[in-house]
Amino acid sequence: MHLPTLIFFTLAAFLIISSLLVVFLPNVVHSALALVTALLIISIFFVVLQAPMVGVLQVLVYAGAIMVLFLFVIMFLNLTATEPRRRAWLSFAGLSALLLGGVLSAMLTQSEPAADPVAATELFGSPEMLARSLFNDFVLPFEIASVLLLVAIVGAVVLAKRRS
């Protein structure tokens, strides 16, 4: 087995373990930290797949900002009591996991593997390429998304003001 494959499967094993820990750990803070670990491993996958920009943004946005806010809220509301385990949810979760696994494996066996996945050029996934496609080909969706975010921020401020 050559090195990239070995690295992939090692990381994938850690990713699955940390994702399972997110669900099964009784303490909310521990779950949040397991989720941070999972996000960091996913960002390593992006770097290995020649997309360092996406990998770094993954760390910056999800691990560095959103998860910190999660922890902030957990601590602010003092949600440190352990969550009781809910048996009824487990069967639903298992069922949907099985369904998802079935769909994914069906799709993966149907699709043909790319001719040469490593043949990605130096530029693929670089900031230049990302910026070019964002600001030339997809400029309208990009701007609509930014307006949507602005509306969400204004909405959050309005809601927070009303309560006080």
């Binding site: 770094v56 760390v59 560095g64």
Partner: protein, 376 residues
Amino acid sequence: MIVDFAIIAAKAFIVLFMVLNLAGILGWIERKGSALIQDRIGANRASIFGFAGLGLVNTLIADPLKFLTKEDFIPPAGDKFLHTLAPCMALFPALVIFAVIPFGDVLQIGDRVINLQVANLNVGILYVFAMASLGVYGVVIGAWASNNKFSLLGGVRGSAQMISYEVAMGLSVIGILMVYGTLDLQEIARGQGTLIRDLLPQGLAFLGALVGWLPAWGVFLQPLAFLLFFTAAVAETKRIPFDLPEGESELVAGYHVEYSGGKFLMFFAAEFAEIVTAAALVTTLFFGGWQVPYLMRDGFYFPWGGQWLLPHLTVVGLQVGAFTLKVLFFCWLQILLRWSVPRFRYDQVMRLGWKMLLPLALVNVLITGIIIVAAQ
């Protein structure tokens, strides 16, 4: 293959060695410097076998020994695993950021060209911000795992403060990216090697006589961005005037109140490593990095005519020396700040971050954009 690997390992070792030792020396400089500012004598009690003459060396040995031989106390009601993990989380980001900071141009030995930077990433600045954003976890997790009300308050303050100033810090660098047109820190450092004279558009050529002789350093092209970035960087190191997460007078020691011994030493080292990192970033982005004014790859070329050719190794030595001196200057400036200014109230910290630094950074981006478009 093996030589390449050895070169990378050597560069990583040199950088980590320098940063950690500089962090240790800064601990001594801070104590001596504060004594100088407050008209005291400062740390002079560390004597080895009755010999106290070498103040620096003695303190450098005595300080860590003192910490390492103290009891390592874990609060019984706290989270033992996370309490131990948190100091590592605090130290890790400050050290790995150095992977993308260039400390020299290229070193040529035979026909092998060594880039004096541990890892050359085309997303360099984003990597810096990504790693810096992970620095919050050491504070938050350390605070939570201690199970102490003062700690928790410090942790909540720290997470809010660090996230707020990350926004301002990120936006203040956009101007630099627009001017030099790259995210790669080595390319940004190279871009600062030209003179302002060469960048002036036709209409402004008359300014050439006035400022044309200046090197095109970030601080001359983006002065507002420099002030914003430096302020935000000091806020990220959580030192006075932004030491609210620690808040000695109201929170005892904030997020690390329950830490002692070696783990406290790690938080301590993380703080000083963050000072070095902030200084290196300010140097690279705004003060030319390893650039010596008018020094090209083969010697000095002065704008008033005349040149002074130098051998390659001398040039590389000058560059690395210039980088080190600049970093030392900004470390000293941060220590001077910490002992010269009073601290903010928490609402003032938040107001400064969101209502002053953030809008000013946006204005800076706008003005830079207008100038760049007008100059084309």
